[in-house]
């Protein structure tokens, strides 16, 4: 079979010009087209395909990639070109245009990058597992962040964004874990304790290097004691088989004593400074940045001191008078020396903390263990009553923490849930791609609900009557093989059968069948900008009708709005959770539900499916109320991409046993909804004013 004729350069030019939108971008394609015209048809196809594929994401990138590929045509194989394009897109997603361009213009760089991709492991992919792992080890969640430098500031573990120095992915994963354990050990086994910060600054490099080796030996011994399996893994990674010198062996023994702490390490370090060279660092050994640790530590200490004192003071004030007396009797200064009567003696304080430790609130318990990590004990000063400065600090902290505040400042991912997103072009998930936050709507106490009730009182009554018919019913099943009672009719019949010599039926019982609906339904309401005005009002009215009717039915239901802008800011607005009652607050929230931004649907579906999943029910339904196709700011979520991600999210939901259903008013819904929900699982309401009426009907159909 002969391959088809090559494309002519004018044909190629036309393709390239559309692909690169030359009309707007003014990119020069003539030379490119000419060079490509000289290639064989399959090769032309390959180039044009990859150009198209990348252009769907970023045109400039696609253009440069095509130029680069044409220039290096001799070195390229089809699979190499393919992986080049994929990695370029990947770099673009992860690190932006500049990083992607670097890959495109420099093939050597790309070769290296590709190797990383083959054996390398990305922190993002390990973070969740490491997070669980460290949380289990430490008993509290530890923050993990990416940084080229491996170190720990005593709160956050900084790990490299990619690891690829070892020969396989498995080994590089192990390396991540080893690094994380090493940094955790610094916090767990007290590297960052007061003696370290009491050292006179600046510390010489020689001292730091020696300290790093010695402290590592100490930590390794501690790990060997507590986590022998992990220790073996560290040994396997440390790589150096050279035997230690006599002196170091001697030292290692000393450093391995369980009683050896950071103060001992410092003393040993000072003794040997100058006469002993530090050992080479194994790849998992982190660097020390004492100044940075000191700063973080200082901030934490102030924060914790304030929180601790305020909490303790509040706790004491909340005690019954009698206990307060006992506490103050025990805490009163027996010598009566110190003038300040708020000062509590450390001994008495310990007693007090111990007495109360049974009933200490969780938060305070955690705080105590956290303070002990810094000091090894609760410093006496902490047991004095909180002063105005501390109250102020606590107030400021609380203020900074409140979710709404976070939105006003620069956005960061704290407190947000991260969701994967499906990229159909690559047939792969972007891991932890969308940051989603659940916010609660401030209720607006007005007459909206009353007015809606009045306007629709007829419909509401009708809906209620209909729903009434759906309610739990108890039925008596006759002629069962087993049951609570005997079915007399069946028994009589059986008796006559028996007299006639016919075989006896065994179905002689009555069974009470309790038909429990046990349904949980979650309404996911589109509050993107396009619903502004009329649609929003009808949506809210429809919600009121549903609530009024569902209250009679007794099904568990929840209502959430969704919107957002870009993958960093997906938002879910809680109107009513499953456990909220339909009260004035919820009604106020329905009234306050206002249009926001865009519709990145995948993340919303994933989050709300999770909520549904946590709810006890036999049947779980996710009803989406929407006015159009998925779409987000910046175009990346427009078109096929958004639809495919939404579809994937719905598939995931379905796989977990949820029934998704969509009610829409988009005239063009026929084009994409069947692909998203399947033919039977959506309704198109052509006359939007019918929405409030139809909702109930649809619900009735769905749950019968």
């Amino acid at each position: 079979m002969r391959s088809p004729l090559p494309l002519q350069s004018d044909e190629i030019l036309a393709i390239l010009e559309t692909c690169f939108e030359v009309e707007y971008t003014f990119l020069h394609c003539e030379n490119l087209a000419m060079t490509i015209a000289a290639l064989k048809r399959p090769q032309q196809q390959l180039l044009l395909d990859s150009a198209r594929r990348v252009a769907a994401t970023q045109i400039q990138l696609a253009y440069e990639l095509t130029c680069s590929a044409v220039a290096r045509w001799e070195q390229l194989t089809p699979s190499l070109l393919e992986s080049w394009a994929i990695h370029t897109l990947d770099a673009y997603d992860r690190a932006g245009l500049r990083a992607a361009m670097a890959l495109v213009t420099d093939i050597d760089f790309f070769y290296r990058y590709r190797r990383q991709q083959q054996v390398g492991v990305v922190l993002g992919d390990e973070q969740q597992m490491l997070g669980h792992f460290l949380h289990a080890l430490a008993g509290r969640p530890l923050a993990i962040a990416a940084s080229e430098l491996l170190w720990c500031d005593s709160e956050t573990l900084y790990l490299p964004p990619v690891l690829m120095q070892l020969e396989s992915r498995v080994e590089n994963r192990k390396l991540y874990q080893a690094m994380a354990v090493f940094l955790w050990a610094q916090t767990r086994f007290g590297t960052f304790m007061p003696p370290l910060f009491a050292l006179p600054l600046p510390l010489s490099d020689a001292f730091l290097a020696l300290f790093a080796t010695m402290d590592r030996l100490r930590l390794e011994a501690a790990i060997q004691r507590e986590l022998p399996g992990q220790w073996r893994a560290l040994q396997a990674l440390s790589g150096s088989n050279e035997a230690l010198s006599c002196e170091w062996q001697q030292l290692q023994l000393q450093l391995s004593e369980p009683a050896c702490d950071v103060a001992t390490v410092i003393t040993l370090c000072q003794q040997h400074l100058g006469d002993l060279a530090p050992l080479p660092a194994p790849i998992y050994q982190g660097t020390l940045n004492i100044a940075a640790v000191a700063k973080v530590r200082q901030q934490r200490i102030e924060r914790e001191r304030a929180l601790f004192k305020v909490q303790l003071t509040q706790l004491r004030e909340s005690l019954p008078a009698k206990n307060q007396e006992i506490a103050s009797a025990a805490l009163a200064n027996p010598q009566g020396e110190e003038a300040d009567d708020a000062t509590l003696l450390p001994d008495g304080g310990d007693w007090w903390v111990e007495q109360l430790s049974q009933q200490l609130p969780e938060g305070l318990k955690k705080r105590i263990s956290s303070i002990k990590l810094d000091f090894g004990e609760i410093p006496p000063e902490y047991l004095t009553a909180a002063g105005p400065g501390e109250y102020e600090l606590v107030e400021r902290l609380e203020h900074e923490r409140s979710a709404a505040r976070v939105w006003e400042g620069t956005y960061h991912e704290e407190g947000a849930s991260l969701y994967d997103e499906w990229d159909y072009r690559r047939q792969e998930y972007h891991k932890r791609w969308c940051a989603l936050r659940e916010l609660t709507i401030e209720p607006q106490y007005d007459t909206f609900v009353q007015e809606t009730r009045q306007q629709f009182h007829h419909e509401i009554a009708q809906l209620r009557r209909r729903f009434e018919a759906l309610r739990d019913e108890n039925r008596l099943l006759r002629r069962q093989n087993g049951g609570e009672d005997i079915d007399i009719d069946a028994l009589v019949e059986a008796e006559s059968d028996r007299l006639q010599g016919v075989e006896l039926s065994e179905a002689l019982y009555l069974r009470h069948h309790r038909h429990e609906r046990h349904i949980a339904v979650l309404f996911m309401v589109d509050v993107s900008g396009s619903t502004r005005g009329w649609i929003n009002q009808l949506e809210r009215q429809a919600l009121v009708l549903m609530c009024e009717a569902l209250e009679t039915l007794g099904d568990r239901y929840a209502i959430y709005g969704f919107s957002g802008m870009t993958r960093q800011r997906c938002e879910i607005y809680r109107v009513k959770s499953f456990s909220d009652a339909y009260d004035a607050t919820v009604q106020g929230r329905i009234s306050a539900l206002q249009p926001k931004d865009y519709t990145r649907m995948g993340a919303a579906i994933r989050h709300l499916s999770g909520l549904l999943q946590e709810t006890e029910a036999h049947t779980r339904i996710l009803v989406t109320l929407s006015d159009g196709r998925p779409d987000d700011y910046g175009g990346e979520y427009q078109g096929i991409y958004g639809i495919e991600d939404t579809r994937m999210a719905l598939l995931e939901a379905r796989r977990s046993g949820i029934h998704p259903y969509c009610i829409t008013i988009d005239e063009q819904a026929q084009e994409y909804l069947p692909r998203l929900y399947g033919d039977a699982a959506y309704t198109l309401i052509s006359d939007i004013s019918q929405l409030p009426y139809q909702m109930g009907e649809i619900y009735q159909r769905l749950t019968r």
Binding site: Q128, M129, L130, G131, H132, F133, H135, A136, L137, A138, G139, R140, P141, Q177, V181, L227, P228, G229, Q230, A233, G483, E484, D485, I486, L491, A494, E495, R498, L504, L508, H512, R514, R556, S579, T615, E616
Partner: protein, 266 residues
């Protein structure tokens, strides 16, 4: 028909007490008060009941509750055989008649209307009226009723009704201190102490994750399972993975984390 004798416990069950639960149970029993055992799964509630039944020399009848359990399943029903109808006692009625201890495991799982039949037994009337027989059975002093309940992962829906829970003397169970838990593992499985200690530390780590990815940490029961596998020659990491990690979660990343934890510990 000494069927009830099957329910007698003749050999002393091994039970490791954590506090004064034995005294409380004994006192409640002496006063005819019903008991509610609260606590996470696999922490020794059933074992405690067996022990108490042995100690008090009473038969123990256990019913595992589920959401299809009807009141007939508890008190009894009419059956037909060869054209004859006859009545068969349910476990609760048998316990009442024999002066046994009746233990309703996971009582919240039962339907609310089913629970109502235990109400008259659980207050000072101590009677079991059976409508279908037209009879009222009075519980002898030896009879005792105990129910168990795991408040942890029950939804609001499945909370115990106040009218039910307020009839019971409540005993709260939890996982034991490391040392005692270690003792249980050694006694139950024959595993050597140092390995048992590590298992207990492993359990502690998984319990740290409760509420942050896990519904529940590893229970004593799971530790005993893993220990038994280890005694039969399975290596520690596989034993922890199959007997513990897989029982705790299906989440891939979480499974990896838990498996890595056991690999790190052993």
């Amino acid at each position: 028909m000494h069927e009830i004798e099957q329910h007698r416990i003749t050999v002393e069950p091994y039970y490791q007490p954590y506090g004064n639960e034995i005294e409380i149970f004994t006192a409640a029993y002496a006063n005819g008060l019903p008991l509610l055992l609260k606590g996470p799964t696999g922490c020794g509630k059933s074992r405690f009941m067996e022990y108490m039944a042995w100690r008090l020399q009473r038969p123990l009848i256990t019913v595992s509750c589920h959401d299809d359990l009807t009141s007939s399943d508890l008190v009894g029903r009419y059956l037909i055989r060869g054209g004859e109808t006859f009545w068969v006692d349910g476990p609760l009625l048998r316990a009442v008649k024999a002066g046994a201890i009746c233990y309703l495991d996971e009582v919240v799982e039962a339907r609310k209307d089913t629970m109502v039949v235990i109400h008259p037994l659980a207050d000072d009337r101590r009677i079991l009226p059976i409508e279908k027989l037209g009879q009222i059975f009075e519980a002898p002093p030896e009879f005792a009723l105990a129910v168990s309940y795991n408040p942890g992962y029950q939804s609001v829906l499945k909370d115990l009704k106040q009218s039910t829970r307020q009839r019971f003397v409540a005993l709260e169970f939890n996982y034991l201190d490391a040392e005692l838990e270690c003792e249980i593992i050694v006694r139950e499985s024959g595993l050597e102490r140092s390995a048992a200690e590590r298992l207990v530390r492993f359990a502690g780590m998984t319990r740290n994750l409760k509420g942050s990815g896990l519904d529940e940490g590893a229970s004593t029961r799971l530790l005993v399972h893993a220990a038994k596998l280890m005694v039969s020659g399975i290596d520690a990491t596989s034993a922890c993975s199959t007997a513990i990690a897989q029982a705790l979660t299906d989440d891939g990343e979480m499974l990896r984390a838990i498996n890595e934890l056991s690999a790190a510990l052993f």
